[in-house]
């Protein structure tokens, strides 16, 4: 298996790209990384993901796959027989629940963080409320999914761990920027402990982007997102 057989078009700061990297590590798959500049977008990206022109894109045997959660499922299904742990649960109902919460997180979690960074101070409260509701629901989901084990996926990092944990870097930055914590022990004792375990796990260690580097780019990103919001575009 040559390195260039698996290529990831990514960006160091992207939580969605992080999901793909964690999945590849769980499966012990080497890959070639292509750091996307996004400004302008590379020919490779435009060719590989013409519909959305965004990262991550996994290219395997020359064929591209886009959208992080689908890439993670693809990785799990493709490398299912190499003695590595499964990423998705084996039971169909547990899989449906994992997919449900991953979709819920994608809808609510990072978009709320982006909004908190983008809008004016006095407009932030509704987004904090959304984040607090997410924390409450995911804390409850953790209890049901983990069944007393360390991760959503059980004994090892799984699909929902990856879906939620990939945002820890940006969560901490959002919390630092405005001095308001959302993932707190009083509201989510299990998740707080889970977050530490997740960050320390060999599949994840070193993949969470550096806090100070994310802080540095948060200002230019705020400017960019504010400009998009001003013309009514999604940011």
């Amino acid at each position: 298996m040559g390195e260039s057989e698996v290529k990831v078009i990514g960006k160091w700061s992207s939580p969605y790209v992080m999901r793909v990297k964690i999945a590849l590590r769980i499966k012990s798959i080497e890959h070639e990384h292509f750091e996307e500049t996004l400004n302008p977008k590379s020919d490779l990206l435009l060719k590989s993901n013409p519909v959305y022109a965004r990262v991550p894109v996994l290219i395997h045997h020359g064929k591209p796959i886009s959208e992080s959660l689908f890439i993670v499922e693809y990785i799990d299904e493709t490398w299912s027989n190499n003695n590595s742990p499964s990423i998705l649960p084996s039971d169909p109902y547990d899989r449906a629940i994992a997919r449900f919460w991953a979709t819920y997180i994608d809808e609510k979690w990072f978009p709320s963080m982006k909004s908190i960074i983008t809008v004016e101070t006095e407009e932030r409260e509704p987004y904090y409320k959304v984040m607090e509701e997410v924390v409450e629901r995911v804390e409850e989901a953790f209890g049901k999914c983990s069944k007393g084990k360390p991760f959503f996926g059980g004994d090892s990092v799984g699909f929902l761990d990856i879906a939620f944990g990939s945002f820890l870097g940006w969560l901490h930055v959002t919390e630092s920027l405005y001095g308001r914590k959302v993932l707190v022990e009083a509201k989510a004792p299990s998740l707080v402990k889970w977050a530490e375990r997740f960050a320390d796990d060999p599949a994840v260690k070193g993949l969470i982007p550096d806090h100070d580097k994310l802080l540095e780019i948060s200002k230019p990103l705020q400017i960019k997102w504010r400009a998009l919001a001003a013309v009514g575009k999604k940011y």
Binding site: E67, Y93, R99, T103
Partner: protein, 219 residues
């Protein structure tokens, strides 16, 4: 065995229709419960506390929410017949991608047409047609998105066809004139019993939408 599988649904819901088609393709008997979405039942609120929406598939008392997740669940549990997703991981990833594209775009763009007016509506019509044309390109020469047979993407998309008459009437435009290939694909899907027995009458849907607009306070 019928109440082992229960579906909480709304007859006009294009999302609920997806689950009904999947159940029909697999020949699964189930109990259908019609929800009054303007007056939600305790059962719905209990089974889908997060979104409080239909459809909800309930199997052996356990709820599965979100139509595409329910369709995948049905495919995985009743995996001995009529596969809905491809078996090859790459093809599966593409099927999921395109079904998700349908979810991200089609409802919201159609809504721009039926809920807005003037310039906004015109923009909505243009974007809606563009999205359908992108899907036409993806279909290519294949009879179905699933290849020779109805598949995951076909199921996720064809249900919107029942809303086309309503959208065209309100938007005062013809989808067929811009996307003839899309319409012939939809009609091909309708030749399948599972689809024909599921999609409601288009004029009924139009009346439903007019009523919904009134209730939501949309002109």
């Amino acid at each position: 065995m019928e109440n082992e599988v229960v579906l909480l649904d709304l007859w006009a819901s294009m999302y609920g229709m997806r689950v009904r088609i999947a159940l029909a393709e697999k020949g699964i008997k189930y109990e259908y419960i019609e929800e009054d979405i303007w007056n939600k039942s305790d059962l719905l609120l209990q089974m889908n506390p997060v979104h409080k929406k239909v459809p909800v598939l309930i199997h052996k008392g356990k709820p599965i929410c979100e139509s595409l997740i329910a369709v995948q669940y049905i495919d995985e549990v009743w995996n001995d017949r009529s596969p809905l997703l491809p078996s090859d991981p790459y093809q599966r990833s593409q099927a999921r991608f395109w079904a998700d594209y349908v979810d991200k775009k089609i409802y919201d763009l159609a809504k721009k047409v039926w809920a807005r007016k003037g310039e906004e509506q015109e923009a909505g019509k243009k974007e809606f047609i563009e999205a359908l044309q992108l899907l036409e390109a993806e279909l290519g020469d294949k009879p179905f998105f699933g290849g020779d047979k109805l598949g995951f993407v076909d199921i996720s998309l064809v249900t919107f066809y029942s809303w086309f008459y309503a959208v065209e009437t309100i938007g005062n435009f013809s989808i067929e004139s811009e996307c003839p290939k899309f319409i012939s694909w939809a009609k091909r899907c309708l030749q399948k019993e599972s689809v024909a027995n599921t999609l409601p009458n288009s004029e009924r849907v139009y009346e439903f939408l007019l009523d919904a607009k009134k209730r939501l306070g949309i002109e």
